[in-house]
């Protein structure tokens, strides 16, 4: 989930959904699904989304409930999925990220809801791993709804940031503060929450702390990332100060006579991640509602009343055109 301490460095403001109309958001699919699996769907009856074979497909309810928010505000989501791991090193890194995301999302939910300990225990036992079935069915449903999907060569969030940097998307959609380290110009947080989303501004963040992108990443590594533990006693303020004093990560580590395992690889994961320009996204969404409904309620046997309202909202928001189409 990225180091939440980055928040205190980030230039964040609230935006209205209305002001986002007409924009394209590259959504970190992994991150978005976790939010829905842990915060929304847990209120639903267990048997509503477990197939006869015991396969959990709660993600389908999450997708049906989560998409209307985009469409009703005339926002086009592009879901960016994590790709396969390339070598041993990044495999370790990937596992670690997954573990931490899972842990943090659950913890946050339990805290936010003030759940009793028994309920928390149940939640924990039902570990919300993104199973192969969840991956497969999420893509299957999005395909039937004609929602654009991008397969990242490696990390979805890095690919989403790259798409925003190259103008394919206007925003990255992610809860993860790492989007900032990945250089995403504008990141929307809290897209799955009830209120207005937060806008995290990359250039404003750099300007505020007089940092370059490299400097920000170096400060992030000193504070600790998903891929390394930070230096003892180094929080956001100190990290920025250290980079200011010693120029960069290496200068700081030298001066303090400290060492961070794989620091250059970690730096590269943020500054030059494995991403692709070869994405072909069709932003004109023309869903096959009947096929989508059949997929969810027949093929995957989700109780129809769990998804009825969500499907209605999707249908309604997509068949109504906006006047801006004629201006």
């Amino acid at each position: 989930m990225g180091n939440a301490d980055i928040r205190s460095l980030a230039a964040i403001s609230e935006v209205e959904f209305d002001d986002l109309a007409g924009s394209v958001v590259a959504v970190d699919a992994h991150n978005w699904l976790y939010r829905y699996l842990t915060t929304t769907v847990k209120f639903t009856r267990d048997d509503a989304y477990t197939t006869a074979d015991g396969e959990e497909v709660a993600n389908l309810i999450g997708v049906v409930q989560g998409l209307p928010k985009f469409f009703e505000h005339d926002i086009t989501p592009v879901f960016v999925f994590d790709g396969g791991v390339t070598d041993l090193k990044s495999e370790e890194v990937d596992e670690r990220r997954e573990q931490r995301e899972q842990y943090e999302a659950e913890l946050e939910t339990a805290k936010a809801e003030g759940e009793d300990s028994a309920r928390i225990a149940t939640l924990q036992s039902r570990t919300q791993r993104l199973t192969d079935t969840i991956h497969e069915t999420t893509r299957g449903l999005l395909a039937r709804l004609d929602v654009p999907v991008v397969e990242a060569p490696a990390e979805g969030e890095a690919q989403a940031a790259h798409m925003a940097r190259t103008g394919v998307a206007d925003y990255v959609g992610s809860e993860d503060y790492d989007a900032l380290l990945l250089g995403a110009p504008h990141t929307l947080r809290q897209l799955t929450s009830k209120g207005s989303p937060e806008l995290m501004d990359f250039e404003a963040t750099l300007a505020e702390h007089d940092l370059t992108w490299e400097g920000l990443v170096d400060a992030g590594i000193l504070m600790g990332t998903d891929f390394n533990d930070g230096l003892d006693g180094v929080g956001p303020k100190t990290a920025v100060k250290l980079i200011g004093e010693h120029g960069d990560l290496w200068g700081t580590l030298d001066a303090r006579d400290e060492y961070i395992e794989g620091a250059d690889l970690i730096r590269e994961l943020f500054l030059d991640p494995d991403v692709t320009d070869g994405v072909d996204v069709d932003l004109d969404i023309d869903p096959d509602m009947d096929a989508a409904k059949a997929y969810v309620t027949e093929e995957w046997a989700v109780a129809p009343d769990e998804v009825e309202r969500g499907f209605e909202r999707i249908e309604e928001s997509l068949v109504q055109t906006g006047l801006d189409r004629w201006t």
Binding site: D74, Q320, T321, G322, T327
Partner: protein, 247 residues
């Protein structure tokens, strides 16, 4: 500076035609009258209103833009009987609107116009058919469609020279035809577009039943409805974006 006296009727009707779409709007104060243009948050329905100085008992301004909360202002105006006069005066210093109705005095806080959704650009529409129709007939069509469905098709059959309304529900449907005899005027051209009844019902509420409404329709295009208010001293244009027709 803005100072005006207007009948509660005239002001109320004008505000109603905007408040069916938005909660807040900018009012442009111009030498020859005031104007409002607003679009609903979903960008589906637009209203363009002008009320000329002649619609007022007295009207003075040196220009400017004010932002108002429509339901608050309507509540104030609602305190007057329809034939009573409403006096409005802008206090430049406090940015409040003084309202006076037969001994009742009040002030209404205005809204910073910059905080209100931007006024929309007018769509550039080339609509193939034009129908002049009584407000009461629109009301009848909307009410009939509402019995069976949540959307309504408006169309013109150029060969048969008639205007028609279709509504198809899950189980029931209605079809209404108005020929040149039933209409005030018809400029034929093939047209058919589908609209959300939620929006059209709201607009219909603000159309006086005795109004002569000029309706322009096209093939899968927004509909434009134009009518006079304040005995010809003002006019309202509604535009409504279509739904995508599934078949």
């Amino acid at each position: 500076m803005f100072k005006a006296i207007v009948s509660a009727d005239t002001l109320g009707d004008a505000l109603d035609s905007v408040s069916v779409l938005v909660d807040e709007c900018k009012i442009r104060l111009e030498d020859d009258g005031l104007s409002i243009r607003a679009v609903d948050p979903a960008n589906v329905g637009m209203v363009d209103l002008s009320l000329s100085a002649a619609a007022f008992e007295s009207y003075e301004t040196d220009g400017g833009v004010i932002g108002v909360n429509l339901s608050r202002l309507e509540e104030f105006v609602g305190m007057a009987d329809s034939d009573q006069l409403v006096e409005l005066e802008l206090d430049e210093e406090t940015r409040k609107l003084h309202i006076q109705i037969e001994g009742l005095e009040g002030t209404l806080a205005l809204i910073d116009p910059d905080s209100i959704r931007q006024e929309p650009d007018l769509p550039d529409l080339d609509l193939s058919a034009e129908v002049a129709i009584e407000g009461a007939d629109i009301d009848r069509a909307v009410t009939a469609a509402d019995m069976v469905s949540d959307h309504i098709a408006l169309g013109v059959d150029a060969d048969a020279e008639l205007f028609y309304v279709d509504a198809e529900g899950d189980t029931d449907d209605v079809h209404l035809e108005l020929t040149t005899e039933d209409l005030i005027a018809l400029t034929p051209g093939d047209a058919r577009s589908l609209f959300s009844l939620d929006y059209l019902k709201d607009m219909d509420k603000a159309i006086p039943s005795d109004a002569e409404v000029t309706m322009e329709v096209g093939e899968e295009f927004p509909v434009k409805m134009h009518f006079d208010i304040a005995e010809g001293n003002g006019n309202v244009t509604y535009m409504l974006a279509p739904r995508i027709q599934s078949d």
